[in-house]
């Protein structure tokens, strides 16, 4: 579905934030990106829908170089949910209708209610002002807003880091559910190792902009060869440790 090949990302002021990143995301997979704060997880995620500009030929969506896809088309196919729900002023309905309205399509109330139902929100929330919804509900509205575009991939940037444990588990359940029911593919940034274990098929550990490890989540967390992942899981500051680019089994 998504294919990242030797992606290097350098900011305008010349800082290299990502170095030679490669990984693949299969259709209907849930892939988590883990790593210490400042390791470049958000930067990497944002290159996948071109909020950050990747070099041509480094990010591929269904065998197409994303820099050759019209950017509006790309972003409708690859949706994003942010850490702060980043809702627009107005009602829940205003938010859910936003994406289709950009194409001059107006979602009916019934269609909006159906989208809310998909994310487990009741119909009476539709006309509620976004100032009056809880954090967990706001994050669900953000999911509904993204789903209204009928994307095939969703990028999640720490969507649960501001939520309590119960709301967090509900979002995790929602994501698995969307994958199973709608066949969506997810790339999920999280610093929470337990969460990665609960939700993801594969995990990428990013340290200082380098792929420190990449593979099956359970394997990475349990197999003793994956020392860095396990030290990260134990709360160690792995950004100070030497990294073998590509992970312990990569051929240098």
């Amino acid at each position: 579905m998504l294919d990242v090949r030797h992606l290097t990302y350098t900011t305008v002021d010349g800082t290299t934030l990502l170095k030679d990143i490669s990984f693949q995301v299969a259709p209907k997979a849930i892939v988590t990106l883990m790593g210490p704060s400042g390791s470049g997880k958000s930067t990497l995620l944002r290159t996948l829908n071109r909020l950050n500009e990747p070099a041509p030929g480094t990010v591929w969506l269904k065998e197409r170089d994303i820099t050759t896809i019209p950017v509006v088309e790309l972003r409708r196919a690859v949706g994003m949910v942010f850490q702060s729900a980043a809702l627009f002023d107005g009602t829940v309905a205003d938010n859910v209708r936003y994406g289709p309205a950009l194409l001059k399509q107006r979602l009916s109330d019934a269609e909006c209610v159906a989208l809310l139902a998909q994310v487990g929100l009741p119909a009476e929330l539709l006309e509620r002002n976004i100032g009056l919804v809880s954090g967990g509900q706001a994050q669900r509205v953000a999911f509904a807003r993204a789903l209204a575009n009928q994307p095939s991939v969703l990028l999640l940037d720490e969507p649960t880091s501001a939520l309590d444990p119960a709301a967090t588990l509900m979002i995790e359940q929602l994501v698995r559910d969307l994958r199973d029911r709608l066949g969506l593919t997810f790339v999920w940034v999280t610093h929470n190792v337990a969460q990665a274990r609960r939700v993801s098929d594969r995990t990428l550990l990013l340290v200082n902009g380098i792929v420190a490890d990449w593979g099956d989540t359970g394997h990475l967390l349990d197999d003793t060869h994956h020392d860095l992942v396990q030290r990260f899981a134990l709360g160690e500051d792995v950004s100070q440790l030497p990294v073998q680019p590509g992970g312990p089994h990569a051929n240098p």
Partner: protein
Amino acid sequence: MPILSGLDALPRVLAALVLVIVAAGIAWWQKVDLERDIGVATVRSFVQLIAIGYILEAVFDTTNPLFIVLILMVMTTIAGYTAGQRGAGVPNARLVAGVAIAAGTLVTLGLLVGLRVFRFEARLIIPIGGMVIGNAMTTCGLVLARLRDEIKTTRTQIEAALALGATPRQSVAGQLRRVLKSGLLPVIDSTKIVGIIQLPGTMTGMILGGATPLAAVQTQIIVLYMLLGAAAFSALATALLGYRGFFSAAYQVQHVPQ
């Protein structure tokens, strides 16, 4: 008529200097540390105004329209530069401001001359143009500063909109509306209360110069509508040109000040 005849009021000007001394005295007494600034402002305004007086004396006699246009262009450039500094942080702020002020001035003066409200004469167009440009400059600076702040504080929402497939223009639609509103409100408010709180500049000047209040009022009304039009047009041009620099060709947010 000898040019110097216009300066026979100089003794009165010097008498008014007493007020400056009072101001400087207050500043010194209250230790606000502004005596130097007051001194500089006094000398600068004196020199600038005397100089402009001589220039206007000379210019008002010209009939060459190109010369009038040239002077308006110089004023616009300076105004664009000043407004641009107000909006520092907006990419190409000075250029945006210059173009927007020029557009607002062109449209407003063009309409007034086209509708034969004013004749295209130096002694009319230059002071009127000056008012229009000065007013547009204030509005423009306000719009640019507000635009920068709006984009800075709502960056997350803007990126959320882009991530949903919005074009840059769509992603800042609400922001532009708020920016325009806040840029225009001061002009609208001062137009609303005109004559009640204070007599506006044109009227005051005309009455001091000996015109009847009714004659002064007629001119003032034209001037007010003109300034309102120029402000609205320049504000719109500023907002519509100004936001563009914050977006790359691939619809990414860029150059947002920290």
